[in-house]
Point group: D2
Chain length 376, copies 4
Amino acid sequence: MNNTIGHAIALTLFGESHGEEIGAVIDGLAPGMPVDPDAVAAALARRRPKDALSTGRREPDLFRMVSGIKDGKTTGTPLAILIPNTAAHSEDYESGAFLPRPSHADYAAFCKYHGYEDRRGGGHFSGRLTAPLVAAGAILSPALAAGGVKIYAHIASLAGIEDDAFSEHTAVLDKLKDGDFPVLSEAAGEEMKEAIRAAAKDGDSVGGVVEVLVTGLPAGLGEPWFDTVEGELSKILFSVPAVKGVEFGDGFALAGMRGSEANDPFAVKDGKVVTLTNRNGGINGGITNGMPLCFSVAIKPTPSIFREQKTVNPIAKTEEVLTLHGRHDPAIVHRAVPVIEAVCAIVLSDFIARRYGTDALAGGRFAQMAKSEGCL
Amino acid sequence: MNNTIGHAIALTLFGESHGEEIGAVIDGLAPGMPVDPDAVAAALARRRPKDALSTGRREPDLFRMVSGIKDGKTTGTPLAILIPNTAAHSEDYESGAFLPRPSHADYAAFCKYHGYEDRRGGGHFSGRLTAPLVAAGAILSPALAAGGVKIYAHIASLAGIEDDAFSEHTAVLDKLKDGDFPVLSEAAGEEMKEAIRAAAKDGDSVGGVVEVLVTGLPAGLGEPWFDTVEGELSKILFSVPAVKGVEFGDGFALAGMRGSEANDPFAVKDGKVVTLTNRNGGINGGITNGMPLCFSVAIKPTPSIFREQKTVNPIAKTEEVLTLHGRHDPAIVHRAVPVIEAVCAIVLSDFIARRYGTDALAGGRFAQMAKSEGCL
Amino acid sequence: MNNTIGHAIALTLFGESHGEEIGAVIDGLAPGMPVDPDAVAAALARRRPKDALSTGRREPDLFRMVSGIKDGKTTGTPLAILIPNTAAHSEDYESGAFLPRPSHADYAAFCKYHGYEDRRGGGHFSGRLTAPLVAAGAILSPALAAGGVKIYAHIASLAGIEDDAFSEHTAVLDKLKDGDFPVLSEAAGEEMKEAIRAAAKDGDSVGGVVEVLVTGLPAGLGEPWFDTVEGELSKILFSVPAVKGVEFGDGFALAGMRGSEANDPFAVKDGKVVTLTNRNGGINGGITNGMPLCFSVAIKPTPSIFREQKTVNPIAKTEEVLTLHGRHDPAIVHRAVPVIEAVCAIVLSDFIARRYGTDALAGGRFAQMAKSEGCL
Amino acid sequence: MNNTIGHAIALTLFGESHGEEIGAVIDGLAPGMPVDPDAVAAALARRRPKDALSTGRREPDLFRMVSGIKDGKTTGTPLAILIPNTAAHSEDYESGAFLPRPSHADYAAFCKYHGYEDRRGGGHFSGRLTAPLVAAGAILSPALAAGGVKIYAHIASLAGIEDDAFSEHTAVLDKLKDGDFPVLSEAAGEEMKEAIRAAAKDGDSVGGVVEVLVTGLPAGLGEPWFDTVEGELSKILFSVPAVKGVEFGDGFALAGMRGSEANDPFAVKDGKVVTLTNRNGGINGGITNGMPLCFSVAIKPTPSIFREQKTVNPIAKTEEVLTLHGRHDPAIVHRAVPVIEAVCAIVLSDFIARRYGTDALAGGRFAQMAKSEGCL
């Protein structure tokens, strides 16, 4: 099914950038999970463009949860979350001939939908569609946390500037959720912001890499063929606009190592099986091994730039020159961080519900089950 | 569903390395597709270990197609392909305590299956399970080719040694299917083989990157959320043993570029819309844009090495030292090439059947439909 | 996935009777299908309670289609339809202890959702949830009709009173959509209404059988194992509240016949293969055979009656007596007719899109494809 | 996916009546479930034709379980079961023009597969394909029984002759598995057999109704929209050859009752909530309510009869007369009983695994979980 993901917990996404509302239906939630609207609002605020680093489009994301909730708790029936579009400037998109933006979805969408697509603001392909994903993540993350599962993410690199490596100091990790530009090194963060401003000044854009760390996951999640943890995560990650690469653990760097370097030796620590290194990112054979899950996601530079670009009129089959107007991000890497965290929460919740059953996500129940079978 | 992939065309995989038979059921094939058993045998032969570069396990892959075929053509009902296991040396695995191999699936599988798993030869996690995938690819590839879709793959790098870049000369590309070690540069290929032999001599292993190019695909395949071409491919690729990263077009390198570099300008060539570069690998917004599909897959070094490794007895919770015996590949990169080609054929066939219907894959019918709507 | 049906065309349902909004997301619609909001409104009006035969709850069904539509046509992306709940009298439900209504979903829901369910008005189990299904049917039916597929339904029996048998006179059939009480015999209809009024007067309710006829379907739709036309239809029909039986063609009556009576002999008529009788309801082996599709659906009497009933307090485990207040239908058979028609449109559209591809439902394209292969 | 059913536990079916092998892949089985090959053989023996009441085709059903099993227990990976076809008399089918048998799948299959289908013995549509279902049922039933869930079925009527109603005496119920002709009244059984013999003598066939009773099911299984217990069961039941109707509880008879008759009053018995009658068959709102699950399945008379029948040559479009040869059952009602029991075991196991997780089916674990939450 095209716009639905998940198995035990399923999410269906709908909407267009300049349509009336966007939203998601989340199905398979355990009954009795507390849902805090303020936490959802806070997560949406993290994703929202806010300063000179982002698009001028400003929307309050006045979401409504119209089903599946009663007295602040999930009922166990589908939870629909709706977000109205209020700040759309459609006139930016509607004048003149259709000139697809290079490396944006415009032309591919035209081929797929034969011109019936809603092109305004990228339509269904807009990054705006990630808002309902973030909302879903905000609903699921507390349930994961109740069972001890925590998701951290930072901008590992942007425009070639690298952040510090993930630390094991939880205090440092928790800090990542505070601001709107999650980095471990403040200095690197400042340099990155400068690079974004410099690109914006040139009418250009930059990309980067987002790195994720998940702690507290039970071992034994995932299916070897074909629902691996790596595969399910990457499948959804690649539908996040601008994602062009996903790697787990040391990823592509592993390809240049020898086995003796790449293998993570086992040890026993405090009565638990651990690995002394974690080059495989907490996954072997597609299954979690109890070590932290680590992966990186490549985000290409925003394709909407303000420099003159070669394009075509695909109907008249003429070559044209495109100069964009409107509001566009010079970088979306920092805004992608909460989206990627949300995707991670959605996919991991599904794996947990598949393994431990419908009710597993309420009250950290899955963690008790995992402990009792020696997987946590 | 765990072991089933695909939507319009679905493949279900089963078997263990040392079980009685492994196999796959392919469902949703158009009726009337010719199936050449010799082509299937040839594809299996490409995957099979054959010389000093590979494991000593030698099997003839005496496959049988026991349903869904009549008079050399698909009937349209499920095609089951069975491959008996004949050369399993189970005794290599059955003696002594359970000592999981570092970075292999052994320990994660133990957590998942509580010790009931069949561990011999990696069981259900074995690379041997890729044989039915290769067979499925061999059944689907001729149907894709009948519509003009061709899949090429080479070892882009191995142990840090790089092959030439993909050429646009079809003659060169067609050559890739000939041998068992698909590279564009013979010299690079020899260097790579030498690196494998050197690693083998050290009881060690090497990894590499496989790069794929698909030509002749209709524009407009894929779904933005969430069944992108990138997402569906990567999902299955990550279940191929040892895959730890997937990137499309320039992938992670795009993260370091500016938009003005990363964007592929449009042009009109022979009355068709094309892009002047293809840094996005033929996909925008998750949808094919009519340019060649390009992606790269990171293969880690085989985790089974013959050097002493630290491991544990996960039941007794004791630290142990492991020295492997048995037959293991010092590199599986070259053997992964036909597997990745097969995964590509399976995923693309499914997208075509979803878009153009049940019968689309017979007789290149999808290509006529795509042409008539201007997508090819 | 719990609340999602369909394969090529998928529908996800959400909402509770007394929640903020109910709705559905319809995914996989061909781009370019005209959508007439007036036709949707008219279909919802047919389902809506309107007179003394129905519940006192009166709602205008002010639906909104908030995505997937542009300029009156589908875009090909998910179409979300939202219907606010405006006339809920929750106070009818909220006073006092929880006393489940006999043969309603209340108690089963309590077991499933552990008391977190929204019980007001039946919550997610309410017949009100059929409104989005009817809306979806109103969007799909014109596309089916454009390809010559027409769906007719009548009250075959109610409280034991039987309507005339389906006629082959199209004029008579078209008349069925006109009123709110679709019968072929006006006299039978009057008698049925009288039976409803009599039951209402007794604080009781009645049930009935709805019979459906679909003409113009291509032969060859359906899958033998397991997506038969019968199976997919019945799966969705059984989720319509109060449905307790489904039979195809002569159904249960066939069980008492001999093969020589039950078999439908073949003949050639106007160059087409037909059957001389249609006791199998247009389906053989789960696949359409080109004859009209016929099936019947048993609707039990509304469980909400105003007579004293024995119930329990499932928390205190005490036996109690229940006397209902609020607004309830003495019969829902007539209101079930447009719902069953809608389910039929949804399921058949999905089969058509699977067989003939994504675009098949636009402009009657599937009918041309079916004709060209001799299936229509 | 066409030939795959189930969610947490999925079954994929393949094969043709006269192909090389038929079989099924069962995925999602809990690790550690004991599998008794003798029980599988015994179940297949119950389905197998054995005397004058059945087809002359005699096959030993030499099944092999080639994966997913180790040391007599499931491993948790896909279990593939293969059954070779050994007694096919293909020559009965291959002579002369294609003359579809009335009310058999032949003609519908021809429309669907364009003549590429394997027609011999009904091909993929053959009742022979129910053998792997029966095998799957034999694997799952002991796991259900370990948690206290028992499935009983009898021939409720055949050729109009009615068996006694289901008794609550377990001793009587257990007797039903003993012979090959499961009835509660021996006298009725003898009459039924006589009716079969009489029909056979006339070259004709008879149908009947199979009734099923399931005890010990936890309350709270099923999903209201759209994965109701009724809907999932009926979906699979309708793919069993010759099934033309399914009803739950009193089914179609409920349509003629008033609510005050049809409703099942609640009571408390031994501290448990029960209903005093069970006209709704243990299901309300699509969800189990803790009472026995009851349903009936209409089986039409075997369409293969030996009397002259009108048919057509669908290629030449000529009217023809058909006289069948070969081996055909004068009734399949009794042979359908173990098939329907198996379908029931497959569907209920899936619901249990969805609710209680991957491991729930091993060792009756689901029953403990259900008890601890008050659902059993």
